[in-house]
Symmetry: C2
Protein backbone atom coordinates (compact mmCIF):
# COMPACT_ATOMS: atom_id res chain seq x y z
CA UNK A 1 0.00 0.00 0.00
CA UNK A 2 1.18 3.52 -0.76
CA UNK A 3 1.83 5.82 2.20
CA UNK A 4 3.03 9.33 1.39
CA UNK A 5 2.89 12.95 2.47
CA UNK A 6 2.62 15.78 -0.09
CA UNK A 7 3.73 19.22 1.07
CA UNK A 8 1.35 22.01 -0.03
CA UNK A 9 2.71 24.79 2.16
CA UNK A 10 5.85 25.26 4.26
CA UNK A 11 5.75 28.89 5.44
CA UNK A 12 4.56 30.53 8.63
CA UNK A 13 1.97 33.31 8.77
CA UNK A 14 3.63 36.06 6.70
CA UNK A 15 3.30 35.21 3.00
CA UNK A 16 6.16 35.29 0.52
CA UNK A 17 5.86 35.44 -3.28
CA UNK A 18 6.23 31.67 -3.56
CA UNK A 19 5.62 29.97 -0.21
CA UNK A 20 2.20 29.04 1.12
CA UNK A 21 1.11 28.62 4.74
CA UNK A 22 0.81 25.19 6.39
CA UNK A 23 -0.99 22.44 4.49
CA UNK A 24 -0.18 18.81 3.65
CA UNK A 25 -1.93 15.77 2.25
CA UNK A 26 -1.44 12.31 3.74
CA UNK A 27 -2.14 9.58 1.19
CA UNK A 28 -2.63 6.07 2.58
CA UNK A 29 -3.60 3.61 -0.13
CA UNK A 30 -5.21 6.37 -2.26
CA UNK A 31 -7.23 7.65 0.67
CA UNK A 32 -6.43 11.34 1.07
CA UNK A 33 -6.37 13.31 4.31
CA UNK A 34 -5.73 17.06 4.46
CA UNK A 35 -3.58 18.20 7.40
CA UNK A 36 -3.98 21.92 8.09
CA UNK A 37 -5.40 24.22 5.43
CA UNK A 38 -3.58 27.53 5.05
CA UNK A 39 -4.77 30.13 2.53
CA UNK A 40 -4.60 28.89 -1.06
CA UNK A 41 -4.81 25.19 -0.18
CA UNK A 42 -7.48 24.41 -2.79
CA UNK A 43 -5.27 25.83 -5.53
CA UNK A 44 -2.24 23.99 -4.15
CA UNK A 45 -4.20 20.72 -4.23
CA UNK A 46 -5.06 21.22 -7.90
CA UNK A 47 -1.48 22.21 -8.72
CA UNK A 48 -0.27 18.93 -7.21
CA UNK A 49 -2.83 16.88 -9.11
CA UNK A 50 -4.94 16.03 -6.07
CA UNK A 51 -8.66 16.31 -6.69
CA UNK A 52 -10.17 18.09 -3.65
CA UNK A 53 -13.25 15.88 -4.03
CA UNK A 54 -11.09 12.90 -3.00
CA UNK A 55 -10.33 14.25 0.47
CA UNK A 56 -11.67 11.81 3.09
CA UNK A 57 -11.21 14.14 6.05
CA UNK A 58 -9.47 17.31 7.20
CA UNK A 59 -7.32 17.62 10.34
CA UNK A 60 -6.68 21.13 11.68
CA UNK A 61 -3.99 21.55 14.34
CA UNK A 62 -5.18 24.90 15.75
CA UNK A 63 -7.28 27.93 14.90
CA UNK A 64 -4.67 30.38 13.72
CA UNK A 65 -5.45 31.75 10.27
CA UNK A 66 -2.30 30.46 8.61
CA UNK A 67 -3.46 26.92 9.44
CA UNK A 68 -7.16 27.17 8.51
CA UNK A 69 -8.05 30.22 6.35
CA UNK A 70 -7.86 28.00 3.26
CA UNK A 71 -10.47 25.60 4.62
CA UNK A 72 -13.45 27.92 4.15
CA UNK A 73 -12.91 28.66 0.43
CA UNK A 74 -12.21 24.94 -0.08
CA UNK A 75 -15.53 23.99 1.52
CA UNK A 76 -17.34 26.53 -0.67
CA UNK A 77 -15.71 25.28 -3.88
CA UNK A 78 -16.36 21.61 -3.08
CA UNK A 79 -20.04 22.50 -3.26
CA UNK A 80 -19.58 24.02 -6.72
CA UNK A 81 -17.58 20.94 -7.73
CA UNK A 82 -20.55 18.74 -6.95
CA UNK A 83 -19.63 17.24 -3.58
CA UNK A 84 -22.65 15.53 -1.99
CA UNK A 85 -21.06 13.24 0.63
CA UNK A 86 -20.21 14.61 4.09
CA UNK A 87 -16.81 16.16 4.80
CA UNK A 88 -15.36 15.28 8.22
CA UNK A 89 -13.36 18.01 9.88
CA UNK A 90 -11.29 17.25 12.97
CA UNK A 91 -10.26 20.43 14.79
CA UNK A 92 -10.16 22.02 18.24
CA UNK A 93 -13.07 24.15 19.47
CA UNK A 94 -14.52 26.56 18.59
CA UNK A 95 -14.21 25.38 14.96
CA UNK A 96 -17.87 24.35 15.18
CA UNK A 97 -18.93 27.96 15.80
CA UNK A 98 -16.65 29.22 13.04
CA UNK A 99 -18.15 26.74 10.57
CA UNK A 100 -21.63 27.79 11.72
CA UNK A 101 -21.08 31.45 10.91
CA UNK A 102 -19.58 30.61 7.54
CA UNK A 103 -22.71 28.56 6.90
CA UNK A 104 -24.78 31.58 7.88
CA UNK A 105 -22.95 34.17 5.77
CA UNK A 106 -21.42 32.20 2.89
CA UNK A 107 -22.79 28.64 2.60
CA UNK A 108 -26.56 28.95 2.89
CA UNK A 109 -26.83 26.62 -0.11
CA UNK A 110 -23.99 24.15 0.55
CA UNK A 111 -25.13 20.86 -1.07
CA UNK A 112 -23.29 18.54 1.34
CA UNK A 113 -22.76 18.14 5.07
CA UNK A 114 -19.73 19.52 6.90
CA UNK A 115 -19.24 17.43 10.06
CA UNK A 116 -17.07 18.91 12.78
CA UNK A 117 -15.46 16.52 15.27
CA UNK A 118 -13.97 18.28 18.28
CA UNK A 119 -10.32 17.43 18.96
CA UNK A 120 -9.32 17.68 22.61
CA UNK A 121 -5.85 19.22 22.62
CA UNK A 122 -4.81 18.04 26.11
CA UNK A 123 -5.26 14.29 25.51
CA UNK A 124 -3.31 11.71 23.52
CA UNK A 125 -6.12 9.61 22.00
CA UNK A 126 -7.54 8.22 18.76
CA UNK A 127 -9.58 10.93 17.04
CA UNK A 128 -10.34 8.91 13.89
CA UNK A 129 -10.12 5.24 12.95
CA UNK A 130 -10.97 3.07 9.96
CA UNK A 131 -9.89 -0.29 8.53
CA UNK A 132 -6.40 0.83 7.60
CA UNK A 133 -5.63 3.79 9.82
CA UNK A 134 -5.65 5.27 13.31
CA UNK A 135 -5.19 9.03 13.72
CA UNK A 136 -4.05 10.10 17.19
CA UNK A 137 -4.15 13.59 18.66
CA UNK A 138 -0.80 14.69 20.11
CA UNK A 139 -1.03 17.59 22.60
CA UNK A 140 1.32 20.44 21.64
CA UNK A 141 2.54 23.59 23.43
CA UNK A 142 1.49 26.68 21.46
CA UNK A 143 -0.16 30.04 22.25
CA UNK A 144 -3.63 28.56 21.62
CA UNK A 145 -4.96 24.99 22.08
CA UNK A 146 -3.08 22.93 19.51
CA UNK A 147 -2.93 19.27 18.55
CA UNK A 148 -0.42 17.48 16.37
CA UNK A 149 -1.55 14.32 14.58
CA UNK A 150 -0.03 10.84 14.46
CA UNK A 151 -1.11 8.75 11.45
CA UNK A 152 -0.65 5.06 12.37
CA UNK A 153 -1.22 2.47 9.71
CA UNK A 154 -2.92 -0.65 11.11
CA UNK A 155 -1.01 -3.96 11.06
CA UNK A 156 -1.34 -5.41 7.55
CA UNK A 157 -3.09 -8.79 7.21
CA UNK A 158 -1.06 -12.03 7.16
CA UNK A 159 0.19 -13.47 3.87
CA UNK A 160 0.28 -17.25 3.38
CA UNK A 161 3.58 -18.65 2.09
CA UNK A 162 3.06 -19.92 -1.52
CA UNK A 163 5.47 -22.84 -1.03
CA UNK A 164 3.68 -24.03 2.12
CA UNK A 165 0.36 -23.91 0.24
CA UNK A 166 1.84 -26.26 -2.34
CA UNK A 167 3.66 -28.50 0.11
CA UNK A 168 0.57 -29.08 2.27
CA UNK A 169 -1.94 -28.77 -0.58
CA UNK A 170 -4.00 -26.24 1.35
CA UNK A 171 -7.59 -25.61 0.25
CA UNK A 172 -9.03 -22.10 -0.25
CA UNK A 173 -10.88 -22.49 3.07
CA UNK A 174 -7.62 -23.43 4.81
CA UNK A 175 -5.77 -20.49 3.23
CA UNK A 176 -8.49 -18.09 4.39
CA UNK A 177 -8.33 -19.61 7.89
CA UNK A 178 -4.53 -19.23 7.91
CA UNK A 179 -4.90 -15.55 6.89
CA UNK A 180 -7.15 -15.17 9.96
CA UNK A 181 -4.23 -16.46 12.05
CA UNK A 182 -5.56 -19.95 12.71
CA UNK A 183 -3.50 -23.15 12.88
CA UNK A 184 -4.39 -25.64 10.13
CA UNK A 185 -5.25 -29.30 10.63
CA UNK A 186 -4.38 -31.37 7.56
CA UNK A 187 -6.46 -34.35 6.33
CA UNK A 188 -3.89 -36.70 7.92
CA UNK A 189 -4.59 -35.02 11.27
CA UNK A 190 -1.27 -33.19 11.38
CA UNK A 191 -1.61 -29.67 12.85
CA UNK A 192 0.49 -26.92 11.24
CA UNK A 193 1.04 -23.90 13.51
CA UNK A 194 -0.05 -20.65 11.87
CA UNK A 195 3.43 -19.17 12.34
CA UNK A 196 4.82 -21.85 9.98
CA UNK A 197 2.36 -20.92 7.22
CA UNK A 198 2.10 -17.15 7.33
CA UNK A 199 4.23 -14.05 7.49
CA UNK A 200 3.62 -10.32 7.97
CA UNK A 201 4.11 -8.67 4.54
CA UNK A 202 5.59 -5.51 6.11
CA UNK A 203 5.61 -3.52 9.33
CA UNK A 204 2.84 -0.99 9.97
CA UNK A 205 4.07 2.52 9.15
CA UNK A 206 3.48 5.89 10.81
CA UNK A 207 3.70 9.64 10.17
CA UNK A 208 3.59 12.41 12.75
CA UNK A 209 2.73 16.09 12.15
CA UNK A 210 3.91 18.38 14.96
CA UNK A 211 3.11 22.06 14.35
CA UNK A 212 2.91 24.64 15.95
CA UNK A 213 4.69 24.03 19.24
CA UNK A 214 7.43 24.81 21.70
CA UNK A 215 9.88 21.98 22.34
CA UNK A 216 7.98 19.06 23.88
CA UNK A 217 9.72 15.89 25.10
CA UNK A 218 6.26 14.53 25.89
CA UNK A 219 5.22 14.87 22.24
CA UNK A 220 8.43 13.06 21.26
CA UNK A 221 7.51 10.14 23.55
CA UNK A 222 4.02 9.97 22.09
CA UNK A 223 5.30 9.58 18.54
CA UNK A 224 8.18 7.28 19.53
CA UNK A 225 9.42 5.07 16.69
CA UNK A 226 7.64 7.09 14.01
CA UNK A 227 8.87 6.46 10.45
CA UNK A 228 8.46 10.03 9.23
CA UNK A 229 8.24 13.08 11.49
CA UNK A 230 7.26 16.59 10.39
CA UNK A 231 8.26 19.13 13.03
CA UNK A 232 7.96 22.88 12.73
CA UNK A 233 11.18 24.89 12.69
CA UNK A 234 9.92 28.44 12.48
CA UNK A 235 13.27 29.81 13.64
CA UNK A 236 17.00 29.20 13.57
CA UNK A 237 18.71 28.19 16.83
CA UNK A 238 19.95 31.80 17.02
CA UNK A 239 16.34 32.91 17.65
CA UNK A 240 15.71 30.45 20.50
CA UNK A 241 14.54 33.11 22.93
CA UNK A 242 12.13 34.68 20.43
CA UNK A 243 10.85 31.23 19.41
CA UNK A 244 10.05 30.35 23.01
CA UNK A 245 7.96 33.50 23.49
CA UNK A 246 6.06 32.91 20.25
CA UNK A 247 5.20 29.29 21.06
CA UNK A 248 7.42 27.98 18.28
CA UNK A 249 10.46 25.72 17.87
CA UNK A 250 13.98 26.16 16.56
CA UNK A 251 15.92 23.86 14.24
CA UNK A 252 17.83 22.25 17.10
CA UNK A 253 14.67 21.69 19.15
CA UNK A 254 13.00 19.92 16.22
CA UNK A 255 16.12 17.80 15.75
CA UNK A 256 16.13 16.88 19.44
CA UNK A 257 12.50 15.79 19.25
CA UNK A 258 13.33 13.60 16.22
CA UNK A 259 16.31 12.14 18.10
CA UNK A 260 14.33 11.52 21.30
CA UNK A 261 11.46 9.97 19.31
CA UNK A 262 13.97 7.79 17.43
CA UNK A 263 12.22 8.87 14.24
CA UNK A 264 13.66 7.40 11.03
CA UNK A 265 13.43 10.69 9.12
CA UNK A 266 12.69 14.35 9.89
CA UNK A 267 11.00 16.95 7.66
CA UNK A 268 11.15 20.59 8.73
CA UNK A 269 8.86 23.47 7.72
CA UNK A 270 6.67 26.40 8.87
CA UNK A 271 9.62 28.68 8.17
CA UNK A 272 9.61 32.33 9.18
CA UNK A 273 9.59 34.57 6.08
CA UNK A 274 12.90 36.05 7.28
CA UNK A 275 14.78 32.93 6.11
CA UNK A 276 15.63 32.79 2.41
CA UNK A 277 18.00 29.83 2.77
CA UNK A 278 16.17 26.82 4.17
CA UNK A 279 19.23 24.63 3.58
CA UNK A 280 21.01 26.55 6.34
CA UNK A 281 18.14 25.64 8.69
CA UNK A 282 18.32 21.97 7.64
CA UNK A 283 22.08 22.01 8.26
CA UNK A 284 21.48 23.18 11.82
CA UNK A 285 19.13 20.21 12.34
CA UNK A 286 21.60 17.77 10.82
CA UNK A 287 24.20 18.58 13.49
CA UNK A 288 21.88 16.61 15.82
CA UNK A 289 19.67 14.57 13.46
CA UNK A 290 21.43 13.84 10.13
CA UNK A 291 18.39 12.44 8.26
CA UNK A 292 16.66 15.82 7.97
CA UNK A 293 14.94 17.16 4.86
CA UNK A 294 13.19 20.40 3.95
CA UNK A 295 9.41 20.36 3.43
CA UNK A 296 9.69 21.77 -0.10
CA UNK A 297 6.29 22.67 -1.56
CA UNK A 298 5.15 20.04 -4.04
CA UNK A 299 7.57 17.43 -2.73
CA UNK A 300 6.13 13.99 -1.94
CA UNK A 301 7.69 12.06 0.95
CA UNK A 302 7.12 8.31 0.63
CA UNK A 303 7.16 5.87 3.52
CA UNK A 304 8.23 2.57 1.94
CA UNK A 305 7.04 -0.87 3.07
CA UNK A 306 9.70 -2.63 5.15
CA UNK A 307 9.87 -6.06 6.79
CA UNK B 1 -0.30 61.79 -12.03
CA UNK B 2 -0.22 58.02 -12.52
CA UNK B 3 -3.55 56.23 -12.79
CA UNK B 4 -3.43 52.47 -13.30
CA UNK B 5 -5.17 49.19 -12.53
CA UNK B 6 -3.18 46.04 -11.68
CA UNK B 7 -4.98 42.73 -12.17
CA UNK B 8 -4.40 40.29 -9.29
CA UNK B 9 -7.08 37.74 -10.16
CA UNK B 10 -9.27 37.10 -13.20
CA UNK B 11 -11.13 33.85 -12.47
CA UNK B 12 -14.55 33.09 -11.05
CA UNK B 13 -15.17 30.90 -8.02
CA UNK B 14 -13.67 27.56 -9.09
CA UNK B 15 -9.88 27.76 -8.83
CA UNK B 16 -7.48 26.67 -11.57
CA UNK B 17 -3.78 25.88 -11.14
CA UNK B 18 -2.80 29.39 -12.21
CA UNK B 19 -5.76 31.77 -12.00
CA UNK B 20 -6.86 33.54 -8.84
CA UNK B 21 -10.33 34.84 -7.94
CA UNK B 22 -11.30 38.51 -8.32
CA UNK B 23 -8.91 41.14 -7.02
CA UNK B 24 -7.39 44.33 -8.45
CA UNK B 25 -5.42 47.33 -7.27
CA UNK B 26 -6.24 50.85 -8.43
CA UNK B 27 -3.22 53.15 -8.18
CA UNK B 28 -3.92 56.89 -8.38
CA UNK B 29 -0.78 58.94 -7.83
CA UNK B 30 0.82 56.19 -5.69
CA UNK B 31 -2.28 55.87 -3.53
CA UNK B 32 -3.38 52.24 -3.65
CA UNK B 33 -6.93 50.92 -3.41
CA UNK B 34 -7.80 47.21 -3.36
CA UNK B 35 -10.92 46.26 -5.31
CA UNK B 36 -12.30 42.86 -4.25
CA UNK B 37 -10.11 40.41 -2.38
CA UNK B 38 -10.38 36.81 -3.54
CA UNK B 39 -8.38 34.07 -1.85
CA UNK B 40 -4.61 34.56 -2.16
CA UNK B 41 -4.79 38.33 -2.65
CA UNK B 42 -2.04 39.09 -0.12
CA UNK B 43 0.37 36.80 -1.95
CA UNK B 44 -0.68 38.27 -5.31
CA UNK B 45 0.03 41.78 -3.99
CA UNK B 46 3.56 40.78 -2.96
CA UNK B 47 4.14 39.00 -6.28
CA UNK B 48 3.25 42.22 -8.10
CA UNK B 49 5.55 44.32 -5.92
CA UNK B 50 2.74 46.09 -4.09
CA UNK B 51 3.35 46.40 -0.35
CA UNK B 52 0.04 45.53 1.38
CA UNK B 53 0.86 48.17 4.01
CA UNK B 54 0.38 50.85 1.32
CA UNK B 55 -3.29 50.04 0.74
CA UNK B 56 -5.39 53.12 1.56
CA UNK B 57 -8.75 51.34 1.46
CA UNK B 58 -10.49 48.18 0.30
CA UNK B 59 -13.65 48.08 -1.82
CA UNK B 60 -15.64 44.81 -1.83
CA UNK B 61 -18.37 44.40 -4.47
CA UNK B 62 -20.35 41.66 -2.71
CA UNK B 63 -20.07 38.98 -0.07
CA UNK B 64 -19.40 35.90 -2.15
CA UNK B 65 -16.28 34.08 -1.05
CA UNK B 66 -14.44 34.42 -4.35
CA UNK B 67 -14.57 38.21 -3.88
CA UNK B 68 -13.66 38.48 -0.18
CA UNK B 69 -12.10 35.31 1.30
CA UNK B 70 -8.65 36.83 0.78
CA UNK B 71 -9.51 39.90 2.87
CA UNK B 72 -9.46 38.13 6.23
CA UNK B 73 -5.96 36.63 5.95
CA UNK B 74 -4.75 39.97 4.56
CA UNK B 75 -6.10 41.81 7.61
CA UNK B 76 -4.41 39.30 9.92
CA UNK B 77 -1.04 39.60 8.15
CA UNK B 78 -1.13 43.42 8.09
CA UNK B 79 -1.07 43.21 11.88
CA UNK B 80 2.04 41.02 11.78
CA UNK B 81 3.58 43.42 9.26
CA UNK B 82 3.27 46.24 11.78
CA UNK B 83 0.23 48.15 10.51
CA UNK B 84 -0.98 50.65 13.12
CA UNK B 85 -3.13 53.05 11.07
CA UNK B 86 -6.83 52.21 10.42
CA UNK B 87 -7.85 50.21 7.35
CA UNK B 88 -11.06 51.43 5.69
CA UNK B 89 -13.22 48.73 4.18
CA UNK B 90 -16.13 49.65 1.93
CA UNK B 91 -18.52 46.74 1.47
CA UNK B 92 -22.21 45.82 1.59
CA UNK B 93 -23.78 44.54 4.81
CA UNK B 94 -23.36 42.32 6.71
CA UNK B 95 -19.59 42.72 6.26
CA UNK B 96 -19.56 44.44 9.66
CA UNK B 97 -20.83 41.27 11.35
CA UNK B 98 -18.39 39.13 9.41
CA UNK B 99 -15.48 41.33 10.48
CA UNK B 100 -16.76 41.16 14.07
CA UNK B 101 -16.66 37.36 14.22
CA UNK B 102 -13.20 37.30 12.68
CA UNK B 103 -12.17 39.75 15.38
CA UNK B 104 -13.66 37.41 17.96
CA UNK B 105 -12.08 34.17 16.70
CA UNK B 106 -8.92 35.26 14.90
CA UNK B 107 -7.95 38.89 15.60
CA UNK B 108 -8.25 39.35 19.35
CA UNK B 109 -4.85 41.07 19.25
CA UNK B 110 -5.08 43.05 15.98
CA UNK B 111 -2.86 46.13 16.53
CA UNK B 112 -4.81 48.48 14.24
CA UNK B 113 -8.42 49.46 13.56
CA UNK B 114 -10.51 47.91 10.79
CA UNK B 115 -13.22 50.42 9.86
CA UNK B 116 -16.19 49.10 7.93
CA UNK B 117 -18.21 51.57 5.83
CA UNK B 118 -21.50 50.15 4.64
CA UNK B 119 -22.05 50.40 0.89
CA UNK B 120 -25.70 50.66 -0.14
CA UNK B 121 -26.05 48.54 -3.26
CA UNK B 122 -29.26 50.16 -4.58
CA UNK B 123 -27.95 53.73 -4.81
CA UNK B 124 -25.53 55.48 -7.16
CA UNK B 125 -23.63 57.73 -4.75
CA UNK B 126 -20.16 58.74 -3.55
CA UNK B 127 -18.95 56.18 -0.99
CA UNK B 128 -15.48 57.71 -0.55
CA UNK B 129 -13.88 61.03 -1.42
CA UNK B 130 -10.52 62.70 -0.92
CA UNK B 131 -8.49 65.50 -2.58
CA UNK B 132 -7.83 63.59 -5.77
CA UNK B 133 -10.57 61.00 -6.03
CA UNK B 134 -14.27 60.21 -5.81
CA UNK B 135 -15.40 56.60 -5.58
CA UNK B 136 -19.01 56.00 -6.59
CA UNK B 137 -21.10 52.92 -5.88
CA UNK B 138 -22.78 51.51 -9.00
CA UNK B 139 -25.78 49.22 -8.30
CA UNK B 140 -25.40 45.85 -10.06
CA UNK B 141 -27.74 42.92 -10.71
CA UNK B 142 -26.37 39.76 -9.06
CA UNK B 143 -27.76 36.97 -6.84
CA UNK B 144 -26.83 38.93 -3.70
CA UNK B 145 -26.60 42.71 -3.05
CA UNK B 146 -23.71 43.87 -5.22
CA UNK B 147 -22.08 47.20 -6.03
CA UNK B 148 -19.64 48.05 -8.76
CA UNK B 149 -17.27 50.97 -8.20
CA UNK B 150 -16.51 54.01 -10.33
CA UNK B 151 -13.16 55.68 -9.59
CA UNK B 152 -13.37 59.32 -10.75
CA UNK B 153 -10.26 61.43 -10.61
CA UNK B 154 -11.05 65.02 -9.55
CA UNK B 155 -10.43 67.84 -12.04
CA UNK B 156 -6.72 68.69 -11.91
CA UNK B 157 -5.80 72.23 -10.83
CA UNK B 158 -5.23 74.99 -13.43
CA UNK B 159 -1.74 75.55 -14.83
CA UNK B 160 -0.60 79.13 -15.61
CA UNK B 161 0.94 79.62 -19.06
CA UNK B 162 4.69 80.36 -18.68
CA UNK B 163 4.71 82.76 -21.61
CA UNK B 164 1.83 84.79 -20.20
CA UNK B 165 3.64 85.01 -16.85
CA UNK B 166 6.62 86.57 -18.66
CA UNK B 167 4.59 88.79 -20.96
CA UNK B 168 2.55 90.33 -18.12
CA UNK B 169 5.32 90.04 -15.49
CA UNK B 170 2.96 88.29 -13.06
CA UNK B 171 3.92 88.19 -9.39
CA UNK B 172 3.79 85.00 -7.28
CA UNK B 173 0.61 86.33 -5.68
CA UNK B 174 -0.94 86.88 -9.13
CA UNK B 175 0.10 83.40 -10.29
CA UNK B 176 -1.46 81.82 -7.20
CA UNK B 177 -4.65 83.87 -7.80
CA UNK B 178 -4.71 82.74 -11.43
CA UNK B 179 -4.35 79.09 -10.33
CA UNK B 180 -7.44 79.70 -8.17
CA UNK B 181 -9.25 80.73 -11.34
CA UNK B 182 -9.34 84.48 -10.72
CA UNK B 183 -8.95 87.19 -13.39
CA UNK B 184 -5.82 89.30 -12.89
CA UNK B 185 -5.67 93.12 -12.74
CA UNK B 186 -2.28 94.42 -13.89
CA UNK B 187 -0.56 97.50 -12.37
CA UNK B 188 -1.70 99.51 -15.42
CA UNK B 189 -5.31 98.61 -14.52
CA UNK B 190 -5.71 96.19 -17.41
CA UNK B 191 -7.78 93.11 -16.48
CA UNK B 192 -6.66 89.79 -17.96
CA UNK B 193 -9.43 87.13 -17.99
CA UNK B 194 -8.36 83.91 -16.27
CA UNK B 195 -9.07 81.90 -19.41
CA UNK B 196 -6.27 83.83 -21.19
CA UNK B 197 -3.73 82.93 -18.50
CA UNK B 198 -4.49 79.36 -17.54
CA UNK B 199 -5.18 75.96 -19.00
CA UNK B 200 -6.31 72.57 -17.71
CA UNK B 201 -3.23 70.27 -17.78
CA UNK B 202 -5.34 67.22 -18.68
CA UNK B 203 -8.86 65.86 -18.42
CA UNK B 204 -9.92 64.05 -15.23
CA UNK B 205 -9.80 60.29 -15.76
CA UNK B 206 -12.04 57.46 -14.61
CA UNK B 207 -12.12 53.67 -14.12
CA UNK B 208 -15.18 51.50 -13.57
CA UNK B 209 -15.27 48.01 -12.02
CA UNK B 210 -18.48 46.11 -12.82
CA UNK B 211 -18.56 42.59 -11.33
CA UNK B 212 -20.61 40.43 -10.70
CA UNK B 213 -23.75 41.31 -12.64
CA UNK B 214 -26.36 40.51 -15.24
CA UNK B 215 -26.48 42.90 -18.20
CA UNK B 216 -27.42 46.37 -16.90
CA UNK B 217 -28.05 49.34 -19.23
CA UNK B 218 -28.53 51.43 -16.10
CA UNK B 219 -24.99 50.62 -14.93
CA UNK B 220 -23.71 51.58 -18.40
CA UNK B 221 -25.41 54.99 -18.07
CA UNK B 222 -23.91 55.53 -14.65
CA UNK B 223 -20.34 55.00 -15.90
CA UNK B 224 -20.91 56.87 -19.17
CA UNK B 225 -17.72 58.25 -20.72
CA UNK B 226 -15.46 56.12 -18.54
CA UNK B 227 -11.86 55.82 -19.79
CA UNK B 228 -11.33 52.24 -18.70
CA UNK B 229 -14.11 49.76 -17.97
CA UNK B 230 -13.68 46.35 -16.33
CA UNK B 231 -16.77 44.21 -16.91
CA UNK B 232 -17.17 40.60 -15.91
CA UNK B 233 -17.54 38.05 -18.70
CA UNK B 234 -17.99 34.82 -16.80
CA UNK B 235 -19.44 33.10 -19.87
CA UNK B 236 -19.30 32.98 -23.65
CA UNK B 237 -22.31 34.24 -25.58
CA UNK B 238 -23.21 30.56 -26.14
CA UNK B 239 -23.99 30.28 -22.41
CA UNK B 240 -26.31 33.30 -22.30
CA UNK B 241 -29.19 31.40 -20.72
CA UNK B 242 -27.00 29.87 -18.00
CA UNK B 243 -25.34 33.25 -17.35
CA UNK B 244 -28.69 34.91 -16.82
CA UNK B 245 -29.73 32.36 -14.20
CA UNK B 246 -26.42 32.68 -12.36
CA UNK B 247 -26.52 36.49 -12.20
CA UNK B 248 -23.57 36.81 -14.57
CA UNK B 249 -22.78 38.35 -17.96
CA UNK B 250 -21.63 37.03 -21.30
CA UNK B 251 -18.94 38.45 -23.58
CA UNK B 252 -21.48 40.20 -25.84
CA UNK B 253 -23.35 41.70 -22.89
CA UNK B 254 -20.11 43.16 -21.49
CA UNK B 255 -19.27 44.56 -24.93
CA UNK B 256 -22.75 46.12 -25.21
CA UNK B 257 -22.29 47.81 -21.84
CA UNK B 258 -18.92 49.20 -22.98
CA UNK B 259 -20.52 50.41 -26.22
CA UNK B 260 -23.52 51.98 -24.47
CA UNK B 261 -21.24 53.64 -21.89
CA UNK B 262 -19.02 54.91 -24.71
CA UNK B 263 -16.06 53.59 -22.73
CA UNK B 264 -12.66 54.14 -24.33
CA UNK B 265 -11.40 50.66 -23.46
CA UNK B 266 -12.84 47.41 -22.06
CA UNK B 267 -11.11 44.80 -19.87
CA UNK B 268 -12.84 41.45 -19.36
CA UNK B 269 -12.38 38.92 -16.56
CA UNK B 270 -14.04 36.72 -13.91
CA UNK B 271 -13.81 33.84 -16.38
CA UNK B 272 -15.47 30.52 -15.70
CA UNK B 273 -12.86 27.79 -15.20
CA UNK B 274 -14.36 25.95 -18.20
CA UNK B 275 -12.64 28.39 -20.59
CA UNK B 276 -8.99 27.69 -21.35
CA UNK B 277 -8.80 30.17 -24.25
CA UNK B 278 -9.60 33.68 -23.04
CA UNK B 279 -8.66 35.12 -26.43
CA UNK B 280 -11.75 33.45 -27.89
CA UNK B 281 -13.86 35.29 -25.30
CA UNK B 282 -12.13 38.60 -26.13
CA UNK B 283 -12.78 37.98 -29.82
CA UNK B 284 -16.50 37.63 -29.11
CA UNK B 285 -16.42 41.01 -27.36
CA UNK B 286 -14.49 42.63 -30.22
CA UNK B 287 -17.30 41.86 -32.68
CA UNK B 288 -19.19 44.62 -30.82
CA UNK B 289 -16.46 46.55 -28.96
CA UNK B 290 -13.08 46.32 -30.73
CA UNK B 291 -10.94 47.88 -27.98
CA UNK B 292 -11.29 44.89 -25.65
CA UNK B 293 -8.45 43.33 -23.64
CA UNK B 294 -8.15 40.36 -21.30
CA UNK B 295 -7.58 41.01 -17.59
CA UNK B 296 -4.38 38.95 -17.52
CA UNK B 297 -3.08 38.43 -13.98
CA UNK B 298 -0.13 40.72 -13.29
CA UNK B 299 -0.97 43.05 -16.20
CA UNK B 300 -1.07 46.77 -15.42
CA UNK B 301 -3.56 48.89 -17.38
CA UNK B 302 -2.53 52.55 -17.51
CA UNK B 303 -4.92 55.43 -18.06
CA UNK B 304 -2.77 58.13 -19.68
CA UNK B 305 -3.24 61.88 -19.18
CA UNK B 306 -5.00 63.46 -22.17
CA UNK B 307 -6.02 66.99 -23.01
Amino acid sequence: MSFSVTILGNSSAKPTPKAHPSAQVVNLNEQYYLVDAGEGVQQQLIRRGINPLRLRAVFISHLHGDHCFGLFPLIATLGLEGKRTPLDIYAPAPMGEILDYHRKYFWDDLPYEVKWHEVRTTEHYIVMENNTLEVWAVPLRHRVPTAGYLFKEKEPGLNVDKFKIERYGLSIAQIVAAKRGEDITLDNGEVIPNSMLTYKPYNARSYAYLSDTNYSAKAAERVHGVDLLYHETTYSDKEAQWAKGRGHSTTLQAARVAQLAEAKRLIIGHFSSRYKDHNALAEECRTIFPNTDIAIEGEIFYIEEQR
